[in-house]
């Protein structure tokens, strides 16, 4: 038998057009975000450091300063942004080609899986339960893509993306956006947090993200350490804010002014 041609050797038009379908999905994301001044991923390698809390309050501070701000709650399995922005429960308006975001405190626009799921229910998908790990990640990436491509934000100065702990959602985001987003990193002062956040920041640098700076949260009591300073020195980025346990609106306004 002669050598069989490879996948890339076969170039006839295919009615399925799967590469074209994927290309159309990417184009839709790019077109939707064309009116967004800056896409900023708020991330950390560590859970429980207050990413969502920081994201919501930073978004509100930016909005109070006159900027148009949206928050995409990319924590699909543990969405909390609507509660933090005190968004009333209401159906999403589904137009022919887009979904309208809902609006929360200080006029911050928001989309979140929390708006779609039954109260208290986990994000679950139809399909075979056996070996669901094979497809679940792809399904969540598709959901994230649709949150990015189908929500009509209007003109925004900034779209903040509240990422869950870990790196997986960040990697998906880079692939979907086609370019790495700018990154704000949240840590608490402890060395344990520093070590986990360092890995996340390293991954972001490796992907080509611009590191905007570090926000050290929950400072002043309880947690000992210098994670913010350590990471700032290591990555040559500023500590944008040290957020105490009981921040005032000025705390957030000052952070917003530094971005």
């Amino acid at each position: 038998m002669p050598p069989i041609r490879t996948y890339h050797d076969l170039t006839d038009a295919d009615r399925s057009g799967l590469p074209e379908q994927i290309g159309a999905q990417r184009k839709r994301v790019a077109e939707r975000l064309a009116g967004v001044g800056r896409v900023i991923a708020v991330m950390s390698g560590k859970g429980g450091v207050g990413k969502s809390y920081v994201t919501a309050h930073l978004a509100r501070a930016l909005a109070r300063s006159g900027r148009a701000v949206g928050v995409l709650d990319a924590d699909l399995n543990g969405p909390t942004i609507p509660r933090l922005l005190e968004i009333p429960r209401a159906p999403l308006t589904a137009h022919r080609e887009h979904i309208e975001p809902l609006t929360g405190l200080d006029g911050v626009r928001c989309i979140s899986m929390a708006m779609l799921l039954e109260d208290g229910a986990p994000l679950a998908f139809k399909g075979p339960s056996a070996e669901s790990f094979v497809w679940r990640g792809a399904m969540e990436a598709s959901a994230l893509r649709e949150l990015l491509s189908d929500v009509a934000w209007g003109a925004l100065d900034a779209l903040l993306l509240d990422l869950p702990p870990g790196m997986q959602r960040y990697v998906e985001l880079c692939d979907i956006l086609g370019a790495p987003p700018a990154v704000l990193t949240v840590t608490i002062p402890t060395p344990e947090s520093r070590d986990a956040v360092r890995r996340a920041m390293r991954a972001a640098v490796d992907r080509g993200s611009q590191l905007l700076g570090i926000i050290e949260n929950m400072t002043g009591q309880g947690f000992a350490g210098t994670a913010g300073e350590d990471l700032a020195r290591e990555f040559s980025v500023p500590v944008l804010a040290r957020i105490p346990w009981h921040p005032t609106p000025d705390t957030w306004n000052e952070l917003g002014a530094r971005l």
Binding site: D14, A94, F125, S142, R145
Partner: protein
């Protein structure tokens, strides 16, 4: 994924897709030279993987709908998650030449979960409107499902 007719050294062309409803998928491909047809059979996990990418084997028959994958695939969606503005309701034809729905078609549509119903209704209405069909009946829905490949709706 592509299929090659080794005898003819020709890329086989997609012919037909079938979703029998048990999570599996069958897609046939035909050699443009010798006419040989092969069927690709996927198990439920493989079918799900394709669905999770938000793509359609055989190509798209309707434009991608907002939150399409989420609405089709999430099983824990809220009944009142969405509202569809400007959609004609009831039996009467709406404005802009929108088709009406027979009582039987409405009853059938009511069995579709709310989470995805608005999207499904719009697809059927567009199908009827594009073909000048004044009233959507279960027969029209069956034809649309077959023509558009809406086996899961």
């Amino acid at each position: 994924m592509k299929f090659l007719c080794v005898d003819c050294d020709k890329q086989m062309a997609f012919e037909e897709r079938q979703l029998p409803g048990d999570g599996t998928l069958a897609a046939t491909f035909k050699c443009p030279t010798c006419g040989r047809v092969v069927a690709m059979l996927t198990n439920p996990m493989e079918t799900q993987l394709v669905s999770s990418l938000g793509v359609e084997i055989g190509g798209r028959t309707v434009p991608e709908q907002p939150f399409e994958t989420v609405r089709k695939m999430v099983s824990t969606g809220r009944d009142d998650a969405f509202t569809e503005p400007g959609e004609p309701r009831g039996h009467a034809a709406g404005s802009n030449g929108a088709p009406s729905w027979s009582a039987e078609a409405q009853e059938r549509l009511s069995r579709v979960p709310n989470f995805v119903r608005g999207m499904v209704k719009r697809i059927y209405a567009d199908y009827a409107k594009e073909r000048g069909i004044a009233e959507i009946t279960p027969a029209v829905m069956d034809t649309a499902r077959a023509e558009l490949g809406l086996e899961g709706m």
